[in-house]
């Protein structure tokens, strides 16, 4: 299992459109990706669930990736996060 911790810098947070970019990036992997914000969590491959978390600028998030392609997935995700948020 891989874990990523990340603090959102983007002033708009993970809102609908950028959230979609993340979801899209993750969809190609088999791993299960769960995002945690405080005591809430969501399946990060589901756009609506991700949006529902309402991640804002300055929020710290933790992401757990589990599956046979978790390495590649984590790398891709990290890249997407750094590029977009």
């Amino acid at each position: 299992m891989k874990e990523i911790e990340f603090t959102v810098n983007d002033p708009n947070g993970i809102h609908a459109r950028p959230a979609g970019i993340l979801v899209k990036a993750l969809k190609v992997f088999n791993s299960k990706v769960t995002i945690y914000k405080g005591d809430k969590n969501a399946d990060m491959k589901k756009l609506l669930a991700l949006m529902g978390l309402g991640v804002k600028q300055g929020d710290s998030i933790k992401i757990q990736i589990e599956g046979d392609d978790e390495e590649a997935c984590a790398a891709e995700l990290e890249k997407a996060l750094n590029d977009n948020f």
Binding site: L47, L48, M51, G52
Partner: protein, 621 residues
């Protein structure tokens, strides 16, 4: 423990400064929305802790208390009963909007509101009455003497014979009174102990409650004419309006324990007294004047023209009961009923006007009312057309008056007449002495009214009025939702009115590229988003500009209002639903302000994306 709705409502009332501090109360799916007069009287801290109130905030000049789905309406009902405010929220809001209209329009509005719901009853009766009466007048058939005729005649005229009851019930609903008390008032006004209104000309008895204190020659103080209100509309509406207000007053001032004893009793008694001692005499006085005036008017063609014009007005006022006296008088003195062509011209003109509305209107709701009402009017029964259609839109009514006037003067000049009385319009052919001229008369009056309506009447396009009216707008601004996306799991309907643009024309690269899923853009013409299917709200974006919904077959749909509107931080957006809330197709779920989006310099395209379109094999947009 289940929430004590009454206690909750009572606490709310107590801590917003009481009934007098509330200008308006409405509720949406989750919130109680109050327009408060003086905010300083609101004890916000207390309200926040009232059991049942999950939260509160102020928005758009409204104090909004979050109470929750399924509960808010019950608390709201209690709130109304405690405060004695009127029930119908939409009507309240509409009334507030209507208050800006000229007085005469405001006066017409309740008549329409009362009449539209009862139209099925009177259209059915009207059509049947027209047909049965026409059959009865066919010479040689002798249908009028048969048992069939007697039976059908009874069935046909039921709704008209007891019209005041139907009107009273509907009016009680409109004015927020108890509908059963409304029914009592309606029944009272046509009580079988009273002389039937249609037989007024034959005379009726009078009660003098306080002896003979003469005010005028024919009227004593507290005189009660023992005369029913058959065929009346306006006096019934006035009586029920009075009743509703009396009832509300008592509800407010009588302690709850005594409410059921005192309120209905006093309400009925007071309404009955005022109706019979004041409203009744005024109308029967007017009726006599109209009768006398009409008899003078019909003596020359110009008078006939005036009569043709005001005929429908007298129908509206319920002052047309005694016209058959004129007809009967004409038949016995000169053997020819020249009144009938006037009535026919006036009625057929209302038919023409109503038909024009039916054909011109784009609204299905109006069409389904106007067409059958017009048919009934062609058969001489004009009430559905007048009250249900023409008067509501007023211009058709005026066009009908003009058509009736010109038809009447034509009738008077040509001197045609009928050999009997009781039918007008198309069945009038059975009694008229010159069918050819009569045809011209009908064509002239109906044609002018039709043309006038067609030319001058434009359907009012309802637009959202202003903020407090959002509830009303949500109701009236509805449009026909067309499918925008379909896949094997189901169909997604357009959530907002407007022009649909292809995905690649959406002014945003991410949406346009389809990377988020297949979708479309809609250039909104309206400011309400409706649910595109029956489903559940997955998430409302914190910045309120986007709503995620899951629908049948696990469809996940994102409705995103405007591009880059996240930067507006919710300014100009008002979600009507909450996370996890179940929604029905067509239910309003989000309000937004096009002006605010424009002011923030963002495109206002509403983006509809099936975010999991990859999961489906066939997706067509």
């Amino acid at each position: 423990m289940a929430l004590d709705y009454r206690k909750c409502a009572q606490e709310i009332v107590d801590h917003i400064g009481g009934r007098d501090n509330v200008a308006q109360a409405a509720h949406c799916a989750t919130r109680l929305r109050l327009v408060i007069k003086d905010n300083s009287k609101v004890d916000k801290e207390y309200l926040d802790n009232v059991e049942g109130v999950k939260g509160m905030f102020e928005s758009n000049g409204q104090l909004q208390l979050i109470i929750g789905t399924g509960t808010v309406n019950k608390v709201y009902d209690e709130f109304l009963s405690i405060t004695g405010m009127t029930a119908a929220t939409k009507d309240d809001v509409k009334a507030a909007a209507a208050a800006k209209q000229p007085l005469w329009k405001q006066l017409l509005k309740p008549i329409g509101d009362v009449f539209v719901p009862i139209l099925p009853a009177i259209v059915a009766s009207g059509l049947m009455m027209g047909l049965v009466e026409a059959l009865g007048k066919i010479p040689g058939l002798n249908f009028a003497g048969t048992d069939w005729y007697a039976f059908l005649d009874m069935v046909a005229n039921t709704a008209f014979a007891y019209l005041p009851v139907i009107v009273a019930i509907s009016a009680a609903r409109v004015f927020g009174g108890n509908i059963f008390l409304g029914a009592v008032i309606g029944l009272l006004m046509i009580h079988s102990a009273l002389t039937n209104g249609w037989n007024a000309a034959a005379g009726y008895e009078v009660w003098y409650l306080f002896g003979h204190i003469r005010i005028t020659e024919s009227y004593s103080l507290f005189q009660i004419n023992q005369l029913g209100y058959q065929g009346h509309v306006i006096p019934v509406i006035i009586a029920v309006l009075l009743m509703s207000n009396v009832e509300k007053w008592f509800h407010k001032h009588v302690p709850e324990m005594l409410d059921l004893f005192v309120t209905p009793l006093c309400t009925v008694l007071i309404t009955a007294l005022v109706t019979f001692t004041i409203i009744g005499p005024i109308f029967s006085g007017l009726e006599t004047m109209v009768l006398n005036g009409a008899q003078i008017l019909v003596k020359n063609p110009l008078g006939a023209m005036v009569m043709g014009a005001i005929y429908p007005v007298t129908v509206v006022m319920g002052l047309h009961h005694m016209y058959n006296v004129i007809e009967a008088g004409m038949l016995s003195s000169v053997g020819l009923n020249t009144w009938m062509p006037i009535a026919s011209a006036a009625n057929f003109a209302q038919f023409g006007a109503c038909l024009a509305v039916g054909l011109k209107s784009q609204s299905n709701k109006t069409k389904v009312i106007a067409v059958p009402s017009a048919l009934s009017a062609a058969l001489g029964i004009t009430e559905p057309a007048i009250f249900g259609v023409n008067l509501r839109f007023y211009k058709p009514f005026v066009a009908g008056m003009v058509g009736g006037a010109i038809g009447s003067i034509f009738g008077a000049i040509t001197g045609i007449g009928a050999t009997a009385y009781g039918v007008t319009g198309i069945p009038g052919y059975l009694t008229i002495n010159n069918a050819g001229v009569y045809t011209v008369l009908l064509l002239v009056s109906g044609g002018i009214a039709f043309a006038g309506t067609w030319t001058f009447w434009k359907e009012e396009v309802k637009k959202p009025v202003n903020k407090p009216a959002d509830e009303a707008a949500a109701e009236t601004g509805k449009f026909e939702q067309k499918p925008v996306i379909t896949c094997e799991a189901g169909t997604i309907l357009a959530p907002v009115k407007g022009n649909v643009i292809p995905q690649d024309k959406i002014p945003d690269e991410t949406f346009a590229s389809g990377v988020l899923g297949a979708g479309v853009g809609i250039e909104p013409e309206d400011e309400t988003i409706y649910a595109p299917f029956d489903g559940e709200v997955s998430s409302v974006a914190e910045s309120k500009h986007a709503i995620g919904l899951s629908g049948p077959g696990d469809m996940e749909v994102l409705i995103h209002v405007g591009v880059d509107t996240v930067a507006m931080n919710g300014e100009g957006f008002e979600p009507l639903v909450e996370d996890g809330e179940k929604v029905k197709m067509g239910q309003p779920i989000l309000k937004f302000s096009k002006a605010a989006i424009k002011a923030a310099d963002h495109p206002d395209v509403v983006v509809v994306i099936l975010t999991n379109s990859d999961d489906y094999n066939e997706v067509s947009v």
